[in-house]
Symmetry: C3
Subunit: 397 residues, 3 copies
């Protein structure tokens, strides 16, 4: 069996509708074709998936064609689970090429990227067994390396929002490997060959040992984004255009990142999100759900400044300032003078702040326009209305 | 036309004088020949300039020869602007070789480096169009990538003092590129070829995405200088011999650096300068003109210790100590006891310190021998005379 | 002369006993065969030693065979010093192969690694002059590059305990070199070839300039160990299985490391040791003997938490907490309320704590279950009994 050459866009659309209407068919929420890196010792173990294109709640027609092309290549597609992954071969490529025929000529540049993938595969003599296709039928906990990577791509490409993807158990799915350039090596393989490699001078130059690769191994950032050291951004991080990541003490973990231009010289831990125009100062730490926030993921608003070596363990609103070297945690006691409290209330009309003079950090979380500082003569932590403008949401007030 | 073979050093000197006396001739303050990396998509765009030798207020004879060699190769040299850049070809090389003939034999090792450059180019079969010569006729805002790099080299080679070069607008001149080893790639080129590279397994291993390269991509440090991670020092930084840059939280930006042996485990922001024998502790931050110093560039004196995770936002003199974890900013209020104030005055005879007990950080800026600390029982920031010796300038007193 | 083929394991053992009984024979405490990298300019200068296997107080039989194989290859082994290093040749390999004959077949995987080394060398056509054998007869100050590396391997492989090896003078023995991947280059060689390399586009991509290589250039970590950036761990560090080193502000120097699973996001300075289950928070600094501890090497106990951007300058016991941003140094004054002091005493029955309310950091060093924090309203540093469980040593009480 095979898909025959489709000769018009109308015929293509008809074919897609037929496939979608077939019994048991289920529309994937995400899919993509990846070149995979396999274990040197255990070739059945996938160590990494390199997606040329990731489809996330889009391009359902191409998904239908890919599913049909698999089926016509005698691969039974299992729609019953949350995900399905299969090795593709030349027969799959031939089927997909036939189906995509009406689009082959125009599939260049930004147009028809899935078709470009098939064209590129068709141009290879034998695609071997290192190309895999992944379908996610729902956003459940990932069960395969290919599914984890598809989700990390979705985050890093900005196709899925931060904290918007189910990555439960991802650490258990991925193998811990030695990364040599873009290539992952099984540690056991290195151990077995250590004597020979050391004596022959071919022991590899390992960049890192981790379950995750780095962002720049897979993602091409926007023209105005800068990452001064690739080790500072893990795959699965999301960087809005205009973000700059300096090489000092900075780090952006997976499922963390920025929503607009942000200067990053500190740590954005997993699940933390920083708003547009904010500044994460040198050595500043935004705590993550696994490090001191009681599972409370931290959002930093827009136009907020985290001073050098400050530590932030509570969410902050827009236009805030945390002074250099200060730690604001959920339990930190903070004095607010009466006049400043009035100004803070004015900047946060929707907040319901008690009339008192000492607040815990957690009570102030998410508020706009607060300047956290320490009185250097008394050692007292105080909060004031910051000098930074806060744009109030006019619709609310 | 061509420069004919010069047969003696006297004839060479005569030729140089003739060139300098020619109408419209202008002596360049800096010049050099670079191998340039061009855009993969747009070959007219220069992405990087690799100078074998940089001449900064020196070697005016070689400059004259290079200008003449250009003119004799039918390149019109425009002396009217602040800089002039041109592609050189084999004809230029031939002319320069002819002029340098008396020096060819002795141009080895440290001698006659410009002649060595020409000899090396002459030994190539065809130099193509990737070699460019740059002349700066004044230290104005750079207008070309080649001029920016010439200035960054001057800083990093110690030929120009820190803060002594006009780099206004340099960020606008340079392209943001992906660095793969020493080679810059246009991001748009990567985007256009992403599908093919991902599927063929040839997607490059990107080290950084930035407008600037790293110091070690261009500069060979002194024998006793150590840089434990290349990402930690940007091109344009200046490291005096004996400086050590550790890999933890350190970073030295362009137009920043050290004036003698310094242990660097923290951040030296753009425009900050650290004196000989000082120690920038682990995670210590010296703020830059763009990050909290109100445009006041920070100098740290000699034999001064910035404790781990301290933050310094004001200039410091010699023999100071900032305790671990402390932030000293322009507005920080600091108590000084009467007896300590006397000792601080003795260490700073030229300073005009008021007789009072509370000072702002800005009032103490640049003073020698101050120890900044926090009283851990009262939380009060205090300054005392440090235990470090301060060498007074005998000529002044 | 030559070692003749040994035909049985009994004959092997007899040969070993004969060698050990020979006059002047001295058992080495450590030995190994390394492939060395030599200077590009000065081939007599060894820049790096790559050991396939390191023997540390073990495998004395193989040591005897290697010594005999050297002697039979006309190398006079000098037993009089603390170490002996010699270049090995094909004759040495032949002798050792003959002696190891009874073990050749079974020398695979984890068995008989020294025999595997010889087999691998025997399979090369000509081993040239880049293989060196090192014997340490005592743990004295190292005198050769090969001895320094042997000791760094012993530490990093966990064969010698942290602080358990004499590395006095190691910095003077090693050369400062440019590391390009795993290969060291003399800086002077780069300088001499800079013009040619820059113009030919062959200037190397330097990763670091240091006397030490990185841990991952020589060591394959345990399967559950993660090092997200190779620059963060220096050769000579020791990482217990399960340790994770994040890429933000972390760093682990040589002769420093972890004794069990530890999350490392901060700095573990030379000579510092962190116990199992502890957490070195983002940007946290553990001071080293050269940076503020008065030569007092710092041990951190088990299950202890160093908060983000904290600084620890005194040893800590088990179950301690240092709050984010706090510096605990030997001279820091710390208040302890009476009820908390009783609880701290209960957790430290062997300690002899005075009945008072203000302690210096040094007085509390090594105690278990202490929570160091700052009262954010008074600025006062206080210590309390932490909420973390401390396991008392039942045998002692």
């Amino acid at each position: 069996m095979a898909i025959e050459t489709v000769t018009s866009t109308e015929a293509f659309k008809t074919l897609v509708e037929e496939i979608k209407a077939s019994e048991g068919y289920r529309e994937p929420v995400a899919f993509g074709i990846a070149r995979v890196d396999r274990g040197q010792k255990n070739a059945d173990k996938v160590l990494q998936a390199n997606y040329a294109i990731v489809n996330w709640k889009e391009n359902y027609g191409s998904a239908a064609i890919f599913i049909k092309a698999l089926q016509e290549s005698r691969v039974e597609v299992d729609f019953s689970g949350s995900e399905f992954v299969a090795t593709i071969g030349d027969e799959f490529v031939k089927n997909a090429m036939n189906a995509f025929t009406p689009y082959l000529a125009e599939a260049v540049g930004e147009a028809h990227k899935n078709v470009q993938v098939i064209k590129t595969l068709a141009a290879m003599e034998d695609i071997g067994r290192n190309f895999r296709i992944t379908f996610l039928f729902e956003d459940a906990a990932p069960r395969s390396v290919e599914a984890v990577y598809l989700k990390l791509y979705a985050l890093s490409l900005g196709k899925a929002p931060l904290r918007g993807v189910n990555l439960n158990g991802a650490f258990g799915v991925l193998s811990n490997v030695a990364w040599v350039g873009n290539k992952p090596y099984e540690l056991e393989y290195l151990r077995e060959n250590e004597i020979e490699m050391k004596l022959n001078g071919t022991f590899p130059n390992i960049d890192s040992v981790d379950k995750f690769p780095r962002y720049l191994q897979h993602i091409i950032p926007a023209d105005n984004t800068r990452i001064l050291d690739t080790s500072k951004v893990r795959m699965g991080a999301q960087l809005a255009p205009g973000t700059t990541v300096m090489p000092g003490a900075s780090y952006i973990n997976f499922n963390a990142g920025t929503l607009g231009p942000v200067m990053v010289e500190g740590r954005i831990s997993s699940s933390a999100v920083v708003g547009s125009g904010s500044d994460v100062g040198g050595g500043a730490s935004i705590l993550g759900v696994l490090s001191g926030t009681d599972g409370n993921p931290i959002s930093i608003g827009e136009n907020t400044l985290l001073g050098a070596n400050s530590v932030t363990g509570v969410p902050l609103g827009d236009g805030c300032i945390v002074d250099a070297g200060i730690a604001v945690l959920a339990g930190t006691k903070i004095r607010i003078d009466e006049d400043q409290l009035e100004k803070i209330k004015a900047a946060n009309p929707e907040a319901d702040l008690e009339d008192k003079t000492v607040f815990k950090g957690a009570e102030l979380q998410g508020l706009n326009g607060i300047h956290y500082r320490i009185d250097s003569l008394s050692g007292e932590m105080v909060a004031r209305r910051s000098t930074r403008e806060v744009k109030l949401n006019e619709e609310l007030h």
